[in-house]
Amino acid sequence: MNKVEQISIFLENKPGGLELVTRVLRDAGINIRALSLADTSDFGVLRLIVNDAEKAKQVLKENGFTVGRTSVVAVLVPDRPGGLHGILEVLSKEKINVEYMYAYVERSGEHAIIIFRFNATDRAIEVLTKSGFTVLPGEKVYSL
């Protein structure tokens, strides 16, 4: 299946936390492809898609971070009014829940790329593909 591996990093809300993550990744030569920071009043979770998830996890763990992994889906979204709506319409009809989503840093031709976390990943991929949307495979996303 065309899932994308996202890594999550637990961060306390304190100055310098984020900077340490980016420094560790820079030093390891890891490129961040997409990111999103979810925060609560007490802590944050940084979600990343990187060019080398295994290596990123390893260096982050070595530096004492708690790292998790989640399967997400990268979907090509037509870059025009109603583009995102078309996708959500299909998902809504199938009662698939979007837990969160964030945009990819780069565009791919006439499309934007959006990263989705669904409550039912496999079924969402199936539904989107059947409806004619392009779900990008992991390798492609990591190396775009």
């Binding site: 708690t66 790292v67 837990e99």
Partner: protein
């Protein structure tokens, strides 16, 4: 196996007769040699000759930690310093430290009692004991050391700290038993795992762990991670040091108090009234054989319960429950008594949580607040890495603390390894309130 079969299996009647005889001797001795006891006995209107049975013990006044501090350093010693061969002192974290002394015979007695503990844990002279209790003024290190030598076991005098080296020696020297605090033992397991050492396949077989309160859950965690049997040893420097009581490997249910040397009582900490067998209250000790530093009815502030029912190990000595709290550690949050061990119990009941936590008491305006800092470990986060999982966890901890302890706490999830690890007694509470 029983180290001193004669005394450890004395029929209760004979044991109590021995206690009365020894109690009468110690009461006479302290009354005539220690000014403090003469004063307090006189104030209470009791003379040494009034003590005719164990029941008369309750006529004697209590001795408290404050009394020990007031007589700092040597005021309660019952022999001249020329007869004292060693002193130890408490850490003094809650005030002036308390100083205790030992004669040659006291050291012999203590060594024997610790040797009894080791045998109670299934050790013999063929064992190699890794002693990670701190050597120095703290009684743990030397207490365990002398006990191990008395038994004839091989002792590795590691003391505390230098964790990487401890792990190397655990691998290379092949100790079969370890003496340490439970929190440090868990820390060793964790650090060893991190270094890539298979901590379950060491030669270690038994842990003799004490010097701080710990829970049954923590025992299971230690036993699983190190593949050992973990047993509780109890003691306090004022009464002697480690080896006042010990859990037997046969029953693993309560710690046998060496009643030929100590008389234990449970009292209501509010009223001082002696409670019947089986009730929970504050543990009080009278030492009946110590020469240099005898203590009469010393209030330990440790909360426990006594059970005289026969034990399957064959020992007749009374058993005390593992310490469920220490009133020194107890914090009062909006009128509710909170023991760190209770919070630990709540946390360890939640799958995936590690027992690394810190309690911070503070005050906002006139209201007490309690913050519980809990580390977010790998186990918990790795599978999902989701915010909502963590929020649910935080809510669950808050709810469980409220349900079990009746106090509202603010839970703060923190990064792994941020809660300080303690190589001696774990300090779980920071009280920022000023009265």
């Amino acid at each position: 196996m029983i180290y001193n079969e004669e005394f450890e299996t004395l029929p209760r009647e004979a044991l109590e007769a021995l206690q009365v005889k020894r109690l009468q001797q110690v009461v006479q001795r302290v009354y005539h040699t220690v000014g403090f006891y003469k004063r307090t006995f006189d104030n209470a209107g009791v003379k040494p000759d009034d003590i005719k049975s164990l029941d008369d013990l309750k006529r004697l006044p209590f001795t408290t930690k404050q009394d020990l501090r007031d007589n700092y350093p040597y005021g309660l010693f019952a022999v001249p310093m020329s007869s004292v061969v060693r002193v130890h002192a408490s850490s003094g974290t809650t005030g002036r430290s308390t100083v205790v002394g030992y004669t040659k015979r006291d050291i012999d007695t203590w060594s024997e009692l610790v040797a009894r503990c080791f045998v109670m844990a299934g050790l013999t002279k063929n064992d190699i004991i890794h002693n990670a209790y701190g050597y120095g003024l703290f009684t743990g290190g030397l207490g365990a050391h002398y006990g191990a030598e008395k038994l004839g076991a091989s002792v590795i005098p590691m003391s505390g700290g230098n964790t990487k080296r401890q792990i190397m020696i655990l691998q290379d020297f092949g100790p079969t038993a370890i003496c340490a605090t439970p929190s440090y033992t868990l820390y060793l397991a964790e650090q060893g795992e991190e270094m890539g050492v298979d901590m379950r396949s060491l030669k270690l077989r038994v842990g003799i762990l004490g010097a701080e309160p710990w829970s049954e859950k923590m025992r299971q965690e230690i036993e699983n991670r190190l593949n050992i049997t973990a047993l509780d040893i109890y003691g306090l420097s004022e009464v002697m040091g480690p080896g006042v009581s010990m859990e037997c490997v046969e029953a693993k249910q309560g710690l046998h108090i060496f009643e030929d040397h100590f008389i234990a009582e449970i009292i209501n900490p509010e009223t001082g009234e002696v409670l019947p067998e089986g009730e929970v209250g504050e543990l009080v000790f009278t030492t009946v054989t110590k020469e240099a530093f005898p203590l009469v009815r010393y209030r330990t502030r440790d909360v426990s319960r006594l059970v005289k029912a026969p034990c399957k190990c064959g020992r007749t000595h009374v058993r005390m429950d593992r310490i469920t709290g220490r009133s020194d550690d107890m914090i009062i949050i909006r009128g509710v008594n909170v023991f760190p061990s209770q919070i630990e119990g709540v946390l360890l009941n939640i799958p995936g949580l590690e027992p690394h936590y810190m309690l911070i008491a503070d005050r906002e305006g006139t209201l007490d607040t309690l913050e519980v800092q809990v580390e977010v470990g790998e186990k918990l986060f790795a599978e999902t890495g989701e915010v909502k999982v963590l929020q649910e966890l935080s809510r669950r901890i808050t709810k469980d603390i409220k349900d079990y302890l009746g106090v509202s706490a603010k839970v703060k999830l923190v990064e792994p390894k941020t809660v300080q690890r303690f190589e001696g007694k774990a300090k779980r509470v920071i009280d920022k309130r000023t009265i």
